[in-house]
Symmetry: C2
Subunit: 160 residues, 2 copies
Amino acid sequence: MWFDMKNIKTTEAGDFSAIMHNPVGRHLGYMLRRASSVIMAGLGSSLASIDLRPVEATILSLIATNPGCTQSDLGRMLSIQRANMVPLITGLVTRGYICKTAADGRSHALNLTEQGIAKCQEAESMMDQHETSIAQQLDRAGHDVARLEEALTAIMKLSA
Amino acid sequence: MWFDMKNIKTTEAGDFSAIMHNPVGRHLGYMLRRASSVIMAGLGSSLASIDLRPVEATILSLIATNPGCTQSDLGRMLSIQRANMVPLITGLVTRGYICKTAADGRSHALNLTEQGIAKCQEAESMMDQHETSIAQQLDRAGHDVARLEEALTAIMKLSA
DNA sequence: TATTGTTATACTCTATAACTATA
DNA sequence: TATAGTTATAGAGTATAACAATA
Protein backbone atom coordinates (compact mmCIF):
# COMPACT_ATOMS: atom_id res chain seq x y z
CA MET A 1 0.00 0.00 0.00
CA TRP A 2 1.51 3.26 -1.02
CA PHE A 3 0.47 4.93 2.18
CA ASP A 4 0.86 2.54 5.03
CA MET A 5 -1.83 3.34 7.57
CA LYS A 6 -0.30 0.83 9.96
CA ASN A 7 2.64 3.15 10.50
CA ILE A 8 0.55 6.15 11.44
CA LYS A 9 0.85 7.04 15.08
CA THR A 10 -0.13 10.04 17.17
CA THR A 11 1.33 13.09 15.50
CA GLU A 12 4.60 14.27 17.00
CA ALA A 13 6.96 17.05 16.13
CA GLY A 14 8.82 15.82 13.04
CA ASP A 15 6.38 13.05 12.29
CA PHE A 16 5.21 13.48 8.75
CA SER A 17 3.97 9.92 8.36
CA ALA A 18 0.32 10.78 8.62
CA ILE A 19 0.26 14.21 7.07
CA MET A 20 2.69 14.17 4.16
CA HIS A 21 1.34 15.54 0.97
CA ASN A 22 1.48 12.96 -1.71
CA PRO A 23 2.62 13.88 -5.23
CA VAL A 24 3.21 10.18 -5.88
CA GLY A 25 -0.46 9.40 -6.20
CA ARG A 26 -0.72 11.61 -9.22
CA HIS A 27 2.01 9.85 -11.20
CA LEU A 28 0.65 7.06 -13.34
CA GLY A 29 3.96 5.23 -13.68
CA TYR A 30 4.41 4.96 -9.92
CA MET A 31 0.78 4.03 -9.35
CA LEU A 32 1.08 1.23 -11.88
CA ARG A 33 4.30 -0.02 -10.33
CA ARG A 34 2.90 0.01 -6.81
CA ALA A 35 -0.33 -1.64 -7.91
CA SER A 36 1.59 -4.36 -9.70
CA SER A 37 3.76 -4.90 -6.61
CA VAL A 38 0.69 -5.46 -4.48
CA ILE A 39 -0.82 -7.96 -6.87
CA MET A 40 2.41 -9.77 -7.70
CA ALA A 41 3.23 -10.09 -4.01
CA GLY A 42 -0.09 -11.81 -3.40
CA LEU A 43 0.33 -14.10 -6.39
CA GLY A 44 3.93 -14.76 -5.42
CA SER A 45 3.07 -15.92 -1.94
CA SER A 46 0.36 -18.21 -3.32
CA LEU A 47 2.67 -19.76 -5.91
CA ALA A 48 5.50 -20.09 -3.38
CA SER A 49 3.49 -22.89 -1.78
CA ILE A 50 4.11 -24.98 -4.91
CA ASP A 51 7.68 -23.67 -5.35
CA LEU A 52 7.04 -21.57 -8.43
CA ARG A 53 7.68 -17.90 -9.05
CA PRO A 54 5.10 -15.94 -11.05
CA VAL A 55 7.37 -15.80 -14.09
CA GLU A 56 7.91 -19.57 -13.96
CA ALA A 57 4.18 -20.25 -13.69
CA THR A 58 3.60 -17.94 -16.63
CA ILE A 59 6.20 -19.78 -18.71
CA LEU A 60 4.59 -23.14 -17.97
CA SER A 61 1.21 -21.71 -18.93
CA LEU A 62 2.60 -20.27 -22.16
CA ILE A 63 4.23 -23.57 -23.13
CA ALA A 64 0.98 -25.39 -22.38
CA THR A 65 -0.86 -23.07 -24.74
CA ASN A 66 1.93 -23.03 -27.33
CA PRO A 67 3.60 -26.45 -27.29
CA GLY A 68 6.80 -26.57 -29.30
CA CYS A 69 7.65 -22.90 -28.94
CA THR A 70 11.25 -21.82 -28.32
CA GLN A 71 12.69 -19.91 -25.40
CA SER A 72 13.28 -16.98 -27.72
CA ASP A 73 9.56 -16.98 -28.51
CA LEU A 74 8.80 -16.88 -24.81
CA GLY A 75 11.31 -14.09 -24.30
CA ARG A 76 9.68 -11.99 -26.98
CA MET A 77 6.23 -12.62 -25.53
CA LEU A 78 7.35 -11.72 -22.00
CA SER A 79 9.84 -8.98 -22.94
CA ILE A 80 12.64 -11.00 -21.35
CA GLN A 81 15.95 -10.99 -23.17
CA ARG A 82 17.41 -14.20 -24.62
CA ALA A 83 20.30 -14.15 -22.17
CA ASN A 84 17.96 -13.89 -19.20
CA MET A 85 15.75 -16.72 -20.41
CA VAL A 86 18.59 -19.24 -20.03
CA PRO A 87 18.53 -19.67 -16.23
CA LEU A 88 14.72 -19.62 -16.21
CA ILE A 89 14.41 -22.46 -18.72
CA THR A 90 17.33 -24.36 -17.19
CA GLY A 91 15.62 -24.25 -13.81
CA LEU A 92 12.36 -25.62 -15.18
CA VAL A 93 14.15 -28.34 -17.14
CA THR A 94 16.23 -29.32 -14.09
CA ARG A 95 13.08 -29.66 -12.02
CA GLY A 96 11.55 -31.86 -14.68
CA TYR A 97 8.67 -29.61 -15.71
CA ILE A 98 9.67 -28.98 -19.31
CA CYS A 99 11.77 -30.80 -21.90
CA LYS A 100 13.69 -29.60 -24.92
CA THR A 101 13.69 -31.47 -28.23
CA ALA A 102 15.88 -30.42 -31.13
CA ALA A 103 13.77 -28.46 -33.56
CA ASP A 104 15.99 -26.48 -35.76
CA GLY A 105 19.58 -27.39 -35.11
CA ARG A 106 20.02 -24.10 -33.38
CA SER A 107 16.71 -23.98 -31.49
CA HIS A 108 14.79 -26.34 -29.23
CA ALA A 109 11.06 -26.98 -29.11
CA LEU A 110 9.76 -26.70 -25.56
CA ASN A 111 7.05 -28.94 -24.17
CA LEU A 112 5.68 -29.77 -20.76
CA THR A 113 6.56 -33.11 -19.20
CA GLU A 114 3.84 -35.08 -17.43
CA GLN A 115 5.09 -33.58 -14.19
CA GLY A 116 5.05 -30.17 -15.84
CA ILE A 117 1.45 -30.59 -16.98
CA ALA A 118 0.39 -31.35 -13.42
CA LYS A 119 2.40 -28.44 -12.06
CA CYS A 120 0.98 -26.12 -14.68
CA GLN A 121 -2.56 -27.10 -13.78
CA GLU A 122 -1.87 -26.38 -10.12
CA ALA A 123 -0.34 -23.03 -11.03
CA GLU A 124 -3.11 -22.01 -13.39
CA SER A 125 -5.69 -22.90 -10.79
CA MET A 126 -3.96 -20.64 -8.28
CA MET A 127 -3.53 -17.84 -10.79
CA ASP A 128 -7.17 -18.02 -11.84
CA GLN A 129 -8.31 -18.01 -8.24
CA HIS A 130 -6.08 -15.04 -7.44
CA GLU A 131 -7.28 -13.20 -10.52
CA THR A 132 -10.92 -13.88 -9.76
CA SER A 133 -10.53 -12.75 -6.18
CA ILE A 134 -9.04 -9.42 -7.22
CA ALA A 135 -11.62 -8.90 -9.93
CA GLN A 136 -14.40 -9.52 -7.43
CA GLN A 137 -12.94 -7.10 -4.91
CA LEU A 138 -12.55 -4.41 -7.55
CA ASP A 139 -16.01 -5.07 -8.89
CA ARG A 140 -17.55 -4.76 -5.44
CA ALA A 141 -15.70 -1.47 -5.01
CA GLY A 142 -17.38 -0.21 -8.16
CA HIS A 143 -14.49 -0.55 -10.61
CA ASP A 144 -14.85 -1.92 -14.12
CA VAL A 145 -12.12 -4.55 -14.47
CA ALA A 146 -12.66 -4.96 -18.22
CA ARG A 147 -12.19 -1.23 -18.72
CA LEU A 148 -9.09 -1.30 -16.55
CA GLU A 149 -7.58 -4.09 -18.65
CA GLU A 150 -8.38 -2.20 -21.84
CA ALA A 151 -6.63 0.88 -20.49
CA LEU A 152 -3.60 -1.17 -19.48
CA THR A 153 -3.44 -2.74 -22.92
CA ALA A 154 -3.52 0.74 -24.43
CA ILE A 155 -0.66 1.85 -22.19
CA MET A 156 1.43 -1.19 -23.12
CA LYS A 157 1.07 -0.21 -26.75
CA LEU A 158 2.28 3.36 -26.20
CA SER A 159 5.93 2.43 -26.50
CA ALA A 160 5.56 0.83 -29.91
CA MET B 1 4.95 -3.35 -25.58
CA TRP B 2 4.03 -6.79 -24.40
CA PHE B 3 3.77 -8.13 -27.90
CA ASP B 4 6.56 -6.74 -30.03
CA MET B 5 5.22 -6.36 -33.55
CA LYS B 6 8.67 -5.34 -34.73
CA ASN B 7 9.84 -8.90 -34.25
CA ILE B 8 7.08 -10.46 -36.27
CA LYS B 9 8.30 -11.88 -39.54
CA THR B 10 6.81 -14.15 -42.15
CA THR B 11 5.59 -17.25 -40.41
CA GLU B 12 8.00 -20.16 -40.61
CA ALA B 13 7.98 -23.60 -39.13
CA GLY B 14 8.81 -23.17 -35.46
CA ASP B 15 8.16 -19.46 -35.46
CA PHE B 16 5.58 -18.74 -32.81
CA SER B 17 6.37 -15.03 -32.56
CA ALA B 18 3.30 -13.88 -34.40
CA ILE B 19 0.82 -16.53 -33.44
CA MET B 20 1.43 -17.43 -29.81
CA HIS B 21 -1.62 -17.49 -27.69
CA ASN B 22 -1.28 -15.04 -24.89
CA PRO B 23 -2.37 -15.98 -21.36
CA VAL B 24 -0.28 -13.06 -20.08
CA GLY B 25 -2.75 -10.47 -21.24
CA ARG B 26 -5.36 -11.86 -18.89
CA HIS B 27 -3.22 -11.52 -15.77
CA LEU B 28 -3.69 -8.21 -14.07
CA GLY B 29 -0.39 -8.31 -12.17
CA TYR B 30 1.63 -8.79 -15.34
CA MET B 31 -0.36 -6.20 -17.25
CA LEU B 32 0.26 -3.67 -14.50
CA ARG B 33 3.95 -4.47 -14.42
CA ARG B 34 4.34 -4.20 -18.17
CA ALA B 35 2.33 -0.99 -18.31
CA SER B 36 4.44 0.55 -15.56
CA SER B 37 7.61 -0.50 -17.38
CA VAL B 38 6.49 1.30 -20.52
CA ILE B 39 5.64 4.49 -18.66
CA MET B 40 8.66 4.47 -16.35
CA ALA B 41 10.97 3.86 -19.31
CA GLY B 42 9.63 6.97 -21.01
CA LEU B 43 9.88 9.04 -17.86
CA GLY B 44 13.33 7.63 -17.15
CA SER B 45 14.74 8.63 -20.50
CA SER B 46 13.33 12.14 -20.10
CA LEU B 47 14.78 12.57 -16.62
CA ALA B 48 18.11 11.07 -17.68
CA SER B 49 18.73 14.29 -19.60
CA ILE B 50 18.98 16.10 -16.26
CA ASP B 51 20.79 13.22 -14.55
CA LEU B 52 17.93 12.13 -12.31
CA ARG B 53 16.25 8.79 -11.94
CA PRO B 54 12.47 8.71 -11.46
CA VAL B 55 12.82 7.79 -7.79
CA GLU B 56 15.23 10.69 -7.22
CA ALA B 57 12.92 13.15 -8.91
CA THR B 58 10.06 11.87 -6.79
CA ILE B 59 12.09 12.31 -3.61
CA LEU B 60 12.95 15.90 -4.52
CA SER B 61 9.29 16.55 -5.23
CA LEU B 62 8.22 15.01 -1.93
CA ILE B 63 10.74 17.07 0.04
CA ALA B 64 9.59 20.22 -1.75
CA THR B 65 6.04 19.49 -0.67
CA ASN B 66 7.00 18.31 2.81
CA PRO B 67 10.05 20.33 3.90
CA GLY B 68 11.65 19.01 7.06
CA CYS B 69 10.52 15.43 6.60
CA THR B 70 12.90 12.58 7.40
CA GLN B 71 14.20 9.88 5.12
CA SER B 72 12.16 7.35 7.06
CA ASP B 73 9.05 9.38 6.26
CA LEU B 74 9.98 9.24 2.59
CA GLY B 75 10.62 5.53 2.82
CA ARG B 76 7.18 4.91 4.29
CA MET B 77 5.56 7.05 1.64
CA LEU B 78 7.39 5.29 -1.20
CA SER B 79 7.45 1.78 0.33
CA ILE B 80 11.24 1.85 0.29
CA GLN B 81 12.95 0.34 3.30
CA ARG B 82 15.10 2.46 5.62
CA ALA B 83 18.23 0.61 4.60
CA ASN B 84 17.59 1.27 0.93
CA MET B 85 16.91 4.97 1.47
CA VAL B 86 20.50 5.56 2.63
CA PRO B 87 22.27 5.50 -0.76
CA LEU B 88 19.41 7.44 -2.37
CA ILE B 89 19.60 10.29 0.14
CA THR B 90 23.40 10.20 0.23
CA GLY B 91 23.48 10.59 -3.54
CA LEU B 92 21.19 13.61 -3.50
CA VAL B 93 23.13 15.21 -0.64
CA THR B 94 26.45 14.59 -2.39
CA ARG B 95 25.15 16.26 -5.53
CA GLY B 96 24.04 19.26 -3.49
CA TYR B 97 20.29 18.96 -4.03
CA ILE B 98 19.21 18.34 -0.46
CA CYS B 99 20.63 19.10 2.98
CA LYS B 100 20.19 17.45 6.35
CA THR B 101 19.79 19.41 9.57
CA ALA B 102 19.68 17.74 12.96
CA ALA B 103 16.06 17.47 14.04
CA ASP B 104 15.80 14.93 16.70
CA GLY B 105 19.22 13.76 17.73
CA ARG B 106 18.53 10.55 15.92
CA SER B 107 16.78 11.94 12.82
CA HIS B 108 17.52 14.64 10.29
CA ALA B 109 15.14 17.11 8.70
CA LEU B 110 15.49 17.12 4.92
CA ASN B 111 15.21 20.26 2.84
CA LEU B 112 16.05 21.25 -0.71
CA THR B 113 19.07 23.44 -1.33
CA GLU B 114 18.82 26.31 -3.81
CA GLN B 115 20.31 23.99 -6.39
CA GLY B 116 17.83 21.33 -5.36
CA ILE B 117 14.89 23.71 -5.76
CA ALA B 118 15.98 24.47 -9.32
CA LYS B 119 16.53 20.78 -10.09
CA CYS B 120 13.18 19.88 -8.60
CA GLN B 121 11.41 22.44 -10.76
CA GLU B 122 13.07 21.03 -13.86
CA ALA B 123 12.11 17.51 -12.84
CA GLU B 124 8.52 18.39 -11.97
CA SER B 125 8.13 20.15 -15.27
CA MET B 126 9.31 17.03 -17.10
CA MET B 127 7.14 14.75 -15.01
CA ASP B 128 4.07 16.93 -15.54
CA GLN B 129 4.70 17.07 -19.26
CA HIS B 130 5.16 13.31 -19.43
CA GLU B 131 2.03 12.74 -17.37
CA THR B 132 -0.03 15.10 -19.48
CA SER B 133 1.15 13.51 -22.70
CA ILE B 134 0.13 10.05 -21.55
CA ALA B 135 -3.21 11.26 -20.23
CA GLN B 136 -3.94 12.93 -23.56
CA GLN B 137 -3.05 9.82 -25.54
CA LEU B 138 -5.25 7.65 -23.33
CA ASP B 139 -8.05 10.17 -23.46
CA ARG B 140 -7.94 10.28 -27.23
CA ALA B 141 -8.08 6.49 -27.28
CA GLY B 142 -11.30 6.67 -25.29
CA HIS B 143 -9.98 5.76 -21.85
CA ASP B 144 -10.98 7.53 -18.65
CA VAL B 145 -7.73 8.39 -16.88
CA ALA B 146 -9.45 9.45 -13.67
CA ARG B 147 -11.25 6.11 -13.49
CA LEU B 148 -7.98 4.31 -14.17
CA GLU B 149 -6.28 6.13 -11.30
CA GLU B 150 -9.18 5.35 -8.98
CA ALA B 151 -8.90 1.67 -9.85
CA LEU B 152 -5.14 1.72 -9.27
CA THR B 153 -5.64 3.39 -5.90
CA ALA B 154 -8.12 0.68 -5.00
CA ILE B 155 -5.63 -2.02 -5.99
CA MET B 156 -2.89 -0.41 -3.92
CA LYS B 157 -5.14 -0.61 -0.89
CA LEU B 158 -5.88 -4.31 -1.32
CA SER B 159 -2.80 -5.42 0.61
CA ALA B 160 -3.65 -3.45 3.75
C1' DT C 1 23.82 -11.57 -42.69
C1' DA C 2 20.48 -12.82 -39.11
C1' DT C 3 19.00 -15.89 -35.41
C1' DT C 4 19.44 -19.23 -31.34
C1' DG C 5 21.40 -20.44 -27.40
C1' DT C 6 24.87 -19.45 -24.30
C1' DT C 7 28.47 -17.27 -20.99
C1' DA C 8 30.08 -13.59 -18.48
C1' DT C 9 29.31 -9.47 -16.36
C1' DA C 10 27.39 -5.43 -14.24
C1' DC C 11 23.99 -2.53 -12.44
C1' DT C 12 19.63 -1.69 -10.16
C1' DC C 13 16.11 -2.92 -6.98
C1' DT C 14 14.71 -5.24 -3.06
C1' DA C 15 15.04 -7.79 1.45
C1' DT C 16 17.09 -9.08 5.95
C1' DA C 17 19.89 -8.96 9.91
C1' DA C 18 22.49 -6.49 12.98
C1' DC C 19 24.51 -2.49 15.17
C1' DT C 20 24.60 2.37 17.36
C1' DA C 21 22.45 6.23 19.15
C1' DT C 22 18.48 8.29 20.67
C1' DA C 23 13.41 8.75 22.31
C1' DT D 1 10.84 -0.87 24.15
C1' DA D 2 10.58 1.52 19.82
C1' DT D 3 12.58 4.43 16.24
C1' DA D 4 16.32 6.62 13.00
C1' DG D 5 20.14 5.95 10.57
C1' DT D 6 23.56 2.99 9.07
C1' DT D 7 26.37 -1.11 7.28
C1' DA D 8 26.78 -5.34 5.13
C1' DT D 9 24.99 -8.69 2.35
C1' DA D 10 22.18 -11.56 -0.57
C1' DG D 11 18.75 -12.32 -3.98
C1' DA D 12 16.06 -10.99 -7.86
C1' DG D 13 15.55 -8.55 -12.21
C1' DT D 14 17.52 -6.43 -16.06
C1' DA D 15 21.00 -4.94 -19.62
C1' DT D 16 25.02 -5.42 -22.78
C1' DA D 17 28.73 -7.58 -25.19
C1' DA D 18 30.57 -11.39 -27.14
C1' DC D 19 30.87 -16.09 -29.02
C1' DA D 20 29.66 -20.63 -31.56
C1' DA D 21 26.53 -23.07 -34.28
C1' DT D 22 23.09 -22.78 -37.54
C1' DA D 23 19.74 -20.67 -41.00
